[in-house]
Amino acid sequence: MLEINDIIKPENLVYGKTPVLTDSVMHYCPGCSHGVVHKILAQVIEEMGIQEQTIGVAPVGCAVFAYNYIDIDWHEAAHGRAPAVATGIKRLLPEKMVFTYQGDGDLAAIGTAETIHACNRGENIVIIFINNGIYGMTGGQMAPTTIEGMPASTCPFGRTPERDGYPLKMSEILATLPGTCYVTRQAVHTAAHVRKTKKALVKAFENQKMRKGTSIVEVVSTCSSGWKMTPVNANKWMVDNMFPFYKLGDLKNE
């Protein structure tokens, strides 16, 4: 009978974890999109050979500990301020690769000004925008991107525009700014979508290398804990309810 150690040999390996991803056990909930996005981001950093030049800016929110998982230098920004922090880094280290990793509350509520102005200056950075329509870290409150009718702990009977205002399509706004060169909306709920998102990340970092301006990769994501659904149901709910409002695809590609 074959022992497991006889099977795990370099010549038999068909898949491995990129060394850019650390061995730390992730704190993300089962079904959360962050883990997948972290993985492909780490793969992109490895495959492009930019680990030693890349500086990440982590947000406040569930991805606050991104620096524990991706083996590069990091700054942990205050809530919403990541694009300003990234501006400071990139302006002083123009040869490095700089990205922010932000959630919807961070990027589209408290950090709206920093996001819009960094993009409007055309800062040569990549912005990765995780849009799951909810505040995950603080326990499922309404986000600027919570869609109409969607319940959250601060709108338990669903988002009501008369009281709560409308969900914000931040990527559509950013696509109108001359400073952005690439604005795309992707997802990571199927293998095919994961591959497309990874390609989008490669393109975004290539844009930065070519100093083309700001690239934004929005990933419409699930938060099964915040949504109070199983991971499978969360994926289905996202496809049925989020995608019709947040349509996938490139909003700008110059």
Partner: protein
């Protein structure tokens, strides 16, 4: 060859000194009475000479976070603003202090509260010295009293910021920022190279080589025992500042029977008050704190053994007076005299207060 003496405003001296000592980046937002700092920098175009970056941000919130980014990379970064703008920076300042990121922030104080006035005041002492943002932290606070010190404190500020990995504030005011005096500018120094930064600031995020662990600029420690340990480390640093970095200046203190404590522009007024008093035979002295944090408590305590009373003169409703009282610890009476809302007291006004509160009191 004589010294290169120039005549300029305090705000202009800040900008000129920044370029000369090799500052890497200035990020700011316009506000009166300090807009000349960024205007001077932009007019000088230092990006063509030293390579210094100058950027007008969309807000003071963005400016201070650009400092957090640039400072975390081990670069010399600075901003300047005035009171309402500094209020907006408090969030960023507590992150910078918590994450131990060096930087220089210049506050050219105007009268408040609220939108207040564009005239000079010293009413941001508490905010500068006692924290301002949330959490247990301290800034090193320098109080220039002349255009010369505006220039000198830029270098001093960066030396201290990097020595302690801590934000430094120059607490100036509308008088010092706007008045013109002669100044000897610091000699030109080149900016640090990336290799120099790596050697001097091994914590800096310049990209992670295979030879070291990743550098992370963060103030977050979710485990309370780790957070307590980090706080103790910060407190030990502040204690070391108190032991090693106190700066002050004395005028006629040796035989003084009465003492004024005043900083910044008030100290200039009070220096004249002391001269007038001495002409009248009143043994008045002046102690001028140059560092407000750390505060010259020990020296004030020593002088309290000799004088009959102390007057804290500030253009505020009485803020530094609390630190003077703590220093004196009840030994002699401590009074406050100040004008508010942008009013600057005259030397004779201060002498009247000395007479009424200290001598007659």
């Amino acid at each position: 060859m004589g010294e290169d003496i120039k005549l300029m405003k305090g705000n202009e001296a800040i900008a000129e000194a920044a370029i000369r000592i090799g500052v890497d980046g200035y990020f700011g937002y316009p506000i009166t009475p300090q807009s000349e700092v960024m205007e001077t920098l932009m007019a000088k175009q230092p990006w063509d000479t030293t390579g210094m970056v100058v950027l007008q941000a969309e807000s003071e919130i963005a400016s201070i976070n650009m400092l957090y980014g640039g400072g975390g990379c081990g670069k010399k970064v600075m901003t300047s603003s005035s009171s309402p703008g500094i209020s907006l920076m408090q969030e960023g300042l507590t992150y910078l202090a918590g994450a131990e990121v060096p930087c220089l922030v210049v506050n050219v104080v105007r009268g408040g509260p609220g939108l207040g006035t564009i005239q000079p005041a010293q009413s941001d002492y508490f905010q500068a010295v006692k924290g301002g943002g949330h959490g247990d932290y301290s800034l090193i606070v320098l109080a220039p009293a002349s255009v010369q010190e505006m220039a000198d404190h830029v270098k001093l500020g960066f030396d201290l910021a990097f020595k302690y990995r801590n934000p430094v504030m120059i607490l100036s005011d509308g008088v010092i920022g706007q008045m013109m005096e002669k100044v000897v500018l610091p000699s030109a120094k080149s900016r640090w190279t990336e290799e120099e930064i790596k050697e001097l600031n091994p914590w800096a995020t310049l990209g992670k080589p295979k030879t070291r662990e990743r550098n992370v600029i963060t103030s977050l420690k979710l485990q309370s025992d780790e957070m307590e340990e980090h706080n103790h480390k910060l407190q030990a640093k502040y204690q070391r500042m108190k032991e090693e970095e106190v700066l002050f200046e004395e005028f006629n203190c040796a035989d003084a029977q009465y003492l004024i404590v005043a900083y910044g522009s008030s100290s200039r007024v009070c220096q004249k008050t002391v001269e007038i008093a001495r002409d009248k035979g009143i043994k008045l002295g002046l102690l001028r704190p140059i560092t407000l944090f750390p505060f010259p408590s020990d020296r004030i305590y020593e002088l309290a053994q000799q004088v009959k009373g102390i007057l804290s003169v500030e253009m505020s409703a009485g803020q530094m007076v609390e630190d003077v009282r703590l220093s004196v610890n009840g030994k002699v009476p401590v009074y406050h005299y100040g004008r508010l809302g942008g009013m600057v007291p005259s030397p004779s006004e201060v002498l009247k207060a000395v007479d009424e509160k200290l001598i007659g009191g």
